[in-house]
């Protein structure tokens, strides 16, 4: 229903122009932080001001050469990969189940499954901190992976469920009628078709964990500090140009994830188009 906007009268044209101008200003507001910080990371000066006295890559060298930042990067990747794999496994199974399950309890179960997305993270962090501390799950990877999995799973369930909703179940029935056992049907028919949806789910999960800092503040020991956690202390103390370099690296990672997601979405739409 994306009819081309074709203003006719002068006042309509004026209103449309006003919308365009207002939106442009908002787009500038939305992009301002990214636009401001990228050039600064290439500055040769230690002061975070414009105009730049000269260009250099010293802050990127600083980042790559710092044991503290590299350890944080390693931690972020370990926790992000582990929690996205775990939330993929749990979330995909649950989505497959929820797609078929009919019960009066379903809304309640759905509410529980999606609630980590709604409850303020600080409350989750405090609750988990009280609960995990006596179990020895603070100050190590396992506790962080578990809580990041809990926070990421709703996004997996939403993404995978949406994919399953658009999946044509007659294909599975066709496979079954041709004699394929359920597992084979899943592997050969369902899985290839919902794979883009699964990949987007995994990406959402990874992004959730990769950007999460509140639970890390409560649960991580000095050895498990992640990139956002190091940035948090860095911003608190004093913003050094190295942080701007880290910020740009993180932004590039976000751009890559966003593009991958867009490619997956297009592919999914194409597949849907073929199926129909």
């Amino acid at each position: 229903m994306s009819a081309n906007h074709s203003p006719q009268t002068a006042s309509q044209r004026f209103a449309w122009m006003a919308t365009v101008v207002a939106s442009t200003l908002v787009f500038i507001f939305l992009m301002a932080p990214i636009l401001a910080i990228v050039p600064l990371s290439f500055s040769s000066s230690t002061y975070l001001t414009y105009p730049l006295p000269g260009l250099s890559l010293r802050w990127y060298e600083d980042f790559l050469g710092s044991a503290r930042w590299m350890n944080a990067l390693k931690n972020s990747v370990i926790i992000g990969v582990a929690s996205s794999m775990l939330s993929m496994a749990l979330g995909t199974l649950a989505s497959l189940g929820l797609a078929q399950w009919k019960s009066k309890w379903k809304p309640l179960v759905l509410a529980i499954v999606l609630s980590p997305m709604v409850v303020p993270v600080v409350i989750t962090a405090v609750g988990v901190y009280f609960f995990f501390a006596p179990l020895g799950l603070t100050g190590n990877y396992l506790g962080l992976i578990l809580v990041h999995t809990a926070l990421a799973t709703p996004f997996v369930v939403i993404t995978v469920s949406a994919t399953l909703q658009s999946f044509d179940m007659t294909l599975a029935k066709a496979a079954a009628s041709l004699g394929a056992p359920p597992l084979l049907t899943f592997r050969k028919v369902i899985l290839p078709l919902i794979l883009p949806g699964l990949a987007s789910g995994a990406l959402f999960a990874f992004a959730t964990s990769f950007d999460e800092v509140v639970t890390v503040l409560f649960l991580a020991g000095p050895e498990q500090r992640t990139l956002p956690r190091e940035m948090f202390s860095g911003i608190r103390e004093n913003i050094s140009p190295t942080i701007t370099a880290v910020a740009v690296v993180l932004t590039v990672i976000s751009v890559c994830m966003l593009s991958t997601l867009e490619i997956l979405r297009r592919r999914n739409e194409r597949l849907k188009g073929n199926a129909e």
């Binding site: 994306s2 081309n4 906007h5 309509q12 006003a18 919308t19 939106s23 908002v26 939305l30 992009m31 932080p33 990214i34 401001a36 910080i37 975070l48 001001t49 749990l90 649950a94 189940g97 929820l98 078929q100 399950w101 019960s103 529980i112 499954v113 997305m117 709604v118 409850v119 303020p120 600080v122 409350i123 989750t124 962090a125 405090v126 609750g127 988990v128 901190y129 009280f130 609960f131 995990f132 578990l146 999995t149 809990a150 799973t153 996004f155 939403i158 949406a162 959402f204 950007d211 509140v214 503040l217 948090f232 860095g234 911003i235 608190r236 942080i243 910020a247 993180l250 932004t251 976000s254």
Partner: protein, 416 residues
Amino acid sequence: MTAAFVAGADVPLKRRLKRAERARQFRALGLVLPLLAFLLFTFVVPLAGMIWKSADDWEVPQVMPQTVAALEHWNGQGLPDEAAFAALAADMRTAREAGTLAVAAKRLNYIVNGYRTTLLSTARKLKEQPAPGTAKETMIGLSPAWGERESWTAIKSASGPVTSYYLLAAVDLTRNADGAIVAAPPDQAIYRDVFIRTFTIGFGVTALCLILGFPVAYLLANLPTGRSNLLMIFVLLPFWTSLLVRTCAWIVILQSEGIVNGSLQWLGVIDEPMRLIYNRFGVYMAMTHVLLPFMILPLYSVMRGISPAYMRAAASLGAPPATAFLRIYLPQTIPGIGAGCLLVFILAIGYYITPALVGGAADQMISSFIAFYTTETVNWGLASALGAVLLLSTLVLAVVYGKLALGRQTTGGLKN
């Protein structure tokens, strides 16, 4: 095919189908169970535990069991009997040796300021000199505080197993020595202000997001798909950028030697740098930036579904454009406005990181107090009580949101 044959085969087939369906439902539930069990362990039980902590009153019963038992039948009038004084002295000796007295002292100090000193100094003196007279005389001799009813009602009110102290404190109430609920003393009555501040910032951010988000959503919804997809990048890229990156960038832009102040000074508009960050302005700026996509996406998805035919019909019937917009278009966007506002508000009132980094001391929201009492002063009861109040507010709003969003059969654009 005869009728008899069909009727004969009909019943078992029906039963077989039913059985197959039941097995299918069972399998489906089996697929959901691992996640439910996982969330029970990592989310539901921890939250329930936190809520329990807001009412749990374990310190005094555990550290001073004899005193608690001795005070059980004390009616709260006058001073308790000799047995209670003796029990208190005995409990103090035991607790001091076990090193647990400080735990009870901390709990009792919440009720009566200075209790900590009274308790610890009495226990210290109690060890130095053996009691010559009655326990009552000795105790009052060591500290006149034991001759006051207030000291004893404090122990009685903290003798568990549950207390309303923390939950009342979270809304600036307390119990006086007679057990009646009264307003908390002014130096402790800060949380109502903090909640009001939290909701004020939440409303402010929501309003700003609506004002800024509406034209953008309208533009995106009314452009040809190709161009709107392209412009959508401007919404989604900041959305996907790390929260810390964006917060850091706002500090770089707004700080006193930052980009805005630098440019304005260079242009000669201002002489002294303006204070744009570490205050309320900075909080509004950064939080609106973070939450704006959560407003634009649900608005956009609703506006996309509004047929332009309605507006054309209104125009053809002679409605001026402004009237047509207000009476025909705007009412159709209400579900999107509702969903977007609720979503932004729910997320805003739980914010911790952004206000902590770009706000001043007077801009800290309820989350930051929860974190403070958890990690800094280790007043877990109060942290839990504040958390329980915030959780309740959030869940009520989330249920409203769920009803709204389910009515529209969407996920409300949550990271979607």
